[in-house]
């Protein structure tokens, strides 16, 4: 169908822009690739070095300590199931990818959130940007990710970070701005500097909310694993993707369950870790 006016060449503009970026910032993208690959592979090597049984015990112990008996029980059963189904190695690859993405997410999201919470101007720029990032279909991020970082695990991490970072930023802003005005006034009245106010008062009080944001980011990063596998990121996502393209319902279901198990374990552990802190302090 023809439009009323000649079509805007938006697509080719973006192509030109991306080409320019790729060439001009090649050194930067190469550097990022090296670093991200290093982190993912380092983590994975570490995970694979630990015997399966010891790994299961360690994660279960962590779950027990942070989230209690019930979650620990689920964890041990879930992990044994994954191993039994033969998805242990893909699971570790997924874990390495997700943890790296979350680490980068926090590294980027927390400072941006803090900055935006202190400066209204920054917040006004960041908020619509976050809206844009969250409403854009996640697939779209794959395209520039491939351009800048070719294929493999790195574009997967990058796309996951872009997709997962908004909740961390949003809830960091929210948590800091939720600190009651009279507490801020009291802090000011004693002559605090900006960084004293931030470190001694605002961040500790915002911590449960920030943790909730990080928890959401973890879930979003996990939900990206199948999409990330389309650009060649290995792991459970790749198993699902392969099963789908080969129409192997049973296999796809198994790999899917493994993802769900990991998601629940990560969710419960990080969720309880956040609220546990709050409970102790309140």
């Amino acid at each position: 169908m023809e439009g009323l006016l000649p079509k805007l060449p938006l697509g080719s503009w973006i192509d030109v822009f991306v080409d320019w970026l790729t060439i001009t910032f090649e050194f930067l993208f190469d550097g990022i690739t090296v670093v991200l690959e290093g982190i993912v592979e380092g983590l994975l090597a570490g995970f694979e070095f630990i015997p399966v049984i010891l790994m299961i015990i360690l994660i279960t112990a962590l779950a027990w300590w942070l989230a209690g008996k019930g979650v620990a029980l689920f964890t041990i059963i879930g992990l044994f199931l994954i191993d039994n189904l033969g998805y242990w190695d893909p699971m570790l690859q997924t874990l390495a990818l997700v943890l790296t993405a979350v680490f980068i997410t926090v590294l980027i999201g927390l400072p941006i959130g803090i900055w935006a919470s202190q400066k209204n101007g920054v917040k006004q720029v960041v908020t619509p940007l976050l809206d844009f990032m969250q409403t854009m279909p996640a697939f779209v991020y794959l395209i520039p990710a491939i351009f800048f970082f070719s294929i493999g695990v790195v574009p997967g991490v990058v796309a996951s970070v872009i997709f997962a970072v908004p909740p961390t930023i949003r809830l960091t802003i929210l948590g800091i701005q939720q600190v009651p005005a009279d507490i801020i006034e009291a802090t000011e009245s004693f002559g605090s500097t900006t960084s004293q106010r931030l470190i001694k008062v605002q961040l500790p009080l915002a911590m449960p909310t920030i943790m909730a944001g990080i928890n959401q980011s973890i879930m979003l990063a996990l939900s990206m694993v199948v999409i990330a596998s389309m650009v060649g990121a290995p792991g459970l996502g790749a198993e699902v993707y392969r099963a789908v393209t080969q129409i192997q319902i049973g296999k796809g279901f198994e790999a899917g369950i493994a993802i769900v198990v990991i998601a629940i374990i990560l969710d419960r552990i990080t969720q309880k870790a956040g609220s546990r802190k709050k409970g102790r302090k309140k």
């Binding site: 009279d182 507490i183 802090t187 004693f190 002559g191 500097t193 309140k282």
Partner: protein
């Protein structure tokens, strides 16, 4: 007690105005032309928080700022430590204009000179009581040992020794506000700002806190700016009171001056349902006592009573020390039986001291046969309480109230205890 410098005005507020919202220039212009808060809001959309406030607070006094909700008290007190920047005017702390200070200078003043207590306590929920009290010292970089020492001392002052390791949420409201007070005291500043510090507490605890504040103040002699919307509280603790309405200060004076001479209808309405019996003292309502010296005879006493048309008289020594009372009937009997005054005087005359509140002397006054005597600490007779005058004063009859002259030409540099006396 701290030695105050020559400058007696600790805080000097000069023409301070705070306008909230846009159009502040226009609003200030309108104010200068005498427009009121409502008109300015209508014409410019700007809210007048404080309007051209000018007053001085003396070193060592408790200065109360009182007014209805929304009258601008919180805004005004926040201009004193610049939690709110005034739109116009100056605030001098020890002679230095805080409104013109740079950030680091201002921070220094907040750390060393002024501390504040808040209505809703504003404690840090993630810190223990001790850590809360240490906060002001901690941010100054004071070492752990020293700041703990100071914080523990401040907690002891407010009666919270032993609660150091609790969290604020584990404490009652009254105790939380003690923590707030201790936190402000720990910095050992000259000036203490208290914005409705006791308003969130229930009445009994509130009274306790007022008493404790007064007691602390008697040994600390800080300059306290105390905000309240409660007249009783203002009268109880204020050395002087400033009354605010719609952002303006409408009257400043001692509690007595405000009660007895309300400067306009607004103040009058404010004070009209005050329970006078809790404010006026024996000193305010006592009348001259008629006396006869002990070495005179019963005949002289009876003669005096007849002349003055009274039915009893007080017997004193040369120093006016009260020895007892004598009724006309007893005097007549003594004349008949030839006894001396010493033999017949009634030693059970009821007495009260000058600062006894009317509410506490009612019973004695209503039961006394010989009017209740007012005495000083040396048992010297100062005056008597006549039933009619006490009731008259309670009914708001100003003629029944003695205005104490010494309050009016009180020199500006009088020490704290001196102007306390007048109450």
């Amino acid at each position: 007690m701290k030695k105050m410098n020559e400058e007696n005005s600790k805080i000097s507020v000069r023409n301070v105005t705070k306008v909230f919202g846009k159009n502040t220039k226009k609003a200030i212009q309108l104010l200068d032309n005498g427009a009121n808060k409502t008109d300015i809001l209508k014409q410019t959309g700007a809210t007048i928080g404080v309007s051209q406030a000018t007053f001085d607070i003396r070193a060592g006094e408790i200065f109360v700022i009182m007014g209805l909700s929304g009258s601008g008290k919180s805004t005004l007190v926040r201009t004193l430590n610049r939690l709110i920047d005034p739109t116009a005017g100056e605030v001098l702390i020890d002679g230095k204009d805080i409104t013109k200070m740079k950030k680091d200078e201002l921070r220094e003043v907040r750390r060393k000179k002024i501390s504040m207590v808040f209505q809703k306590f504003a404690l840090l929920p993630h810190r223990t009581v001790l850590e809360n009290v240490e906060y002001g010292l901690e941010i100054q970089g004071i070492g752990e040992v020293k700041r703990k020492e100071d914080a523990v001392r401040a907690l002891k002052l407010v009666g919270l020794a032993g609660y150091e390791n609790q969290y604020p949420s584990q404490l009652s409201g009254g105790m939380q506000q003690r923590v707030g007070l201790a936190r402000a005291l720990a910095n050992d500043t000259d000036i203490l700002l208290m914005d409705e510090a006791f308003s969130a507490l229930d009445p009994l605890i509130r009274k306790d806190m007022q008493d404790e504040l007064l007691e602390l103040q008697s040994s600390m002699a800080k300059t306290i700016v105390f905000i309240t919307h409660d007249l009783d509280e203002a009268l109880r603790i204020g050395d002087r009171i400033a009354l605010m309405k719609d952002g303006s200060i409408v009257q400043i004076g001692t509690p007595e001056e405000i009660l007895i001479n309300p400067s306009n209808q607004y103040v009058e309405r404010f004070v009209e349902d005050v329970d006078l019996s809790k404010i006026l003292t024996a000193n305010h309502v006592m009348k001259r006592a008629e006396t006869v010296q002990i070495d005179k005879g019963p005949r002289v006493a009876l003669e005096m009573m007849k002349k003055l048309g009274i039915s009893s008289i007080y017997i004193v020594d040369k120093k006016k020390t009260l020895l007892g009372g004598l009724t006309a009937a007893d005097a007549r009997e003594a004349i008949d039986t030839g006894k001396s005054l010493q033999d017949i005087l009634d030693q059970d005359v009821q007495t009260v001291t000058e600062d006894t509140l009317l509410t506490d002397l009612f019973e004695k006054v209503s039961q006394a046969i010989i009017p209740v005597a007012v005495i000083d600490e040396n048992h010297r007779l100062k005056g008597i309480l006549v039933r009619g005058a006490v009731i008259g004063a309670l009914a708001g009859n100003n003629e029944a109230i003695n205005i104490l002259q010494k309050n009016e030409n009180e020199p500006l540099n009088s020490a704290h205890t001196e102007h306390k006396e007048g109450q």
